[in-house]
Subunit: 198 residues, 4 copies
DNA sequence: GATGAATGAGTGTTCATTCAT
DNA sequence: CATGAATGAACACTCATTCAT
């Protein structure tokens, strides 16, 4: 634990990714420039390219991190010993937390598993993201002891939850006006309605 | 009274909008340049600015068109004399058709009831889009004879449908692999599951 | 004097030039577009090109008009029966009036006589402007009964007057602050000082 | 302490400014494009933006340099131990040299004491230019031991000199034709006539 | 290993001018 | 004769990426 003279590449990647994440959350991935990230992370623009192939790889890297967090949250908030409803609401809670931390990657989660890697260029992290998505799917299937209908049910649940969370985020002011409820309280009602789906 | 040789501005606007729509569908609104649109529509870049104030106005124009189509489709596929389930599936059908034609504006539909026009600059078409969104909301409320619970129910339904349709679009290949069904057939199953929500 | 069915070209030129002049005075010749002029004059952009070869010719046309006005003003405010000082101040008055009406052409007046027409393209009006400039020079020479020293004296006077008028225009606020006098009153003092030159 | 291989930013700024200055002198600041400057300076367009915030900053930078040169020249050519006439002619000489090097900024000098910096955006260099202008004014006042009449006298002198120099520049060919003198010799006569003003 | 410096390839937008009708 | 329509040529400015040191 002595003084670290040389930092591992992973440390630099983390530092860069953290800076990028904060900027992406506030301004979106398109608006943020490589220069912005470099400045915020305390590196020169050129150094970023030592640790990441290009801007896209930073995005992919964060997408993977975000999926891992999502998986962790889902596992933390669910348990086979709980009732199905408790577990469903646990998944909702996990997704919501995820959205708050990585709003810019929610569309990624809405995609869950990034499709076809055969033709397009992709980064290893994209593949990893895909795998984490698969793991989440498998976990949910096991959690609810789903059989043949697993895929369609998981699909319906996942799509619905992502849809309502995103809609709620875009309509926060409108929700307040119409229901006098906070976004969170309102979404709680919505989740209860959606529970019937499972 | 003779056949008009000169084309009305609206014809040009349509031609430009159609070209833009096709490009947007494939590459997204950001990546497509004004030059791309002009070339595809068969005009010079400068001519585009005769018919549209700027690129944003083209985007707004298409957004409005897309919302109008959505409304038309929903009305066409529903009827107060039908059962709730028939109507629900009618709405699903309308949304699906909408997605096929204007995938790049689906996020717009996912917003449905649009934001706050008090402070930001916006084009008339943006306001019109907002109004069409409101009309769709009102129509659905009346169609299902919803009372106090109208807002939360409509919200849950709309968010869910948008969510699953988008998810299905992104996972078409994956769905095929897992279920051997076409996206449409698969979504039909999903819609039936979701019907319980209403 | 009956109803005019067809207007002479000169009428159109005047109408266009008047519109242009007002716009030029306010925004300068560069900022004003051909479209602006056409709209203000009540013509289509293309029609302008029926009456003027191009934007430059409109500028030249106005420059000539402005020089003619300058000549008229000088003649009106001077007289061989007056004292030299009265005539000098009359010229000052004429130049000042000119500046107020055509501030954007004052540099033109500062040039007085437009130099060399051998190599550059120029419009007939430019040549006319040159001739009017010459006429003014000749008039002044005769007015003050100048001999061999005519050229250098006229030159010094003309350059000085143009210089102080323009400087005063740019420093109006500053003059007020330093002297509590209006630009006009201050310039009157300046003109009296400059009279010694002649 | 060794010889520096890397060039300081100021070197690049100078190189760019020099190129810009030459182009501005010939074609004016408006006609010259950023690309033109870049090409002439041997940089790419993008590189210019590494050393200057934008085109305006290049203009401002040169304006300041020009005013500094003007001040230096005036000081160099004048001295309290000299006669008023000698000093007057020294100022003339300074202004003339300035005009030769920075004709495009002569209007700037014709403004000398610059405007109001309270509302508009401006660059530091613009403010510096203003200050140098003030310094020149103060120097002249002291040089000629001017009292209450300082402002109006300085004003008349400055305006006149600028006026005749500019007029002479525009009429060089004409002067030659009329007087068979060089512009410089002719201006020398004019300056002698104008000396009476002070 | 780190980076200062450089840049190619865009971007949306403007405008004077032309020409077929 | 008048003009709606069309456009080539610019133009200031940006940014992800490369590379010599």
């Amino acid at each position: 634990m002595g003084r670290r003279i040389k930092e591992e590449p992973i440390v630099h990647r983390e530092r860069i990714a953290t800076a990028a994440s904060e900027l992406f959350k506030e301004h979106g991935t398109t608006k943020v420039t490589v220069n912005d990230i470099a400045k915020k992370a305390g590196y020169s623009k050129a150094t970023l390219y030592t640790y990441f192939e290009n801007k896209d790889e930073i995005v992919s890297y964060l997408a993977l991190k975000s999926m891992s967090l999502l998986k962790d949250e889902i596992i933390k908030n669910t348990d086979e010993s709980k009732t199905d409803k408790e577990n469903f609401l646990g998944i909702c809670k996990g997704l919501l937390k995820y959205y708050k931390k990585y709003p810019m990657y929610f569309d990624f989660a809405q995609d869950t598993i990034n499709v076809d890697f055969s033709e397009n260029k992709f980064y290893n992290t994209d593949l990893d993201t895909y795998i984490v998505g698969q793991e989440i799917s498998a976990y949910i299937k096991k959690l609810f002891k789903l059989g043949d209908e697993a895929f369609v049910t998981t699909f319906a649940m996942w799509g619905s939850l992502c849809g309502v969370i995103k809609l709620a985020a875009n309509k926060e002011a409108f929700i307040k006006k119409e229901t006098s409820k906070s976004k969170e309280a309102f979404l709680s009602d919505v989740f209860n309605i959606l529970y019937k789906v499972v």
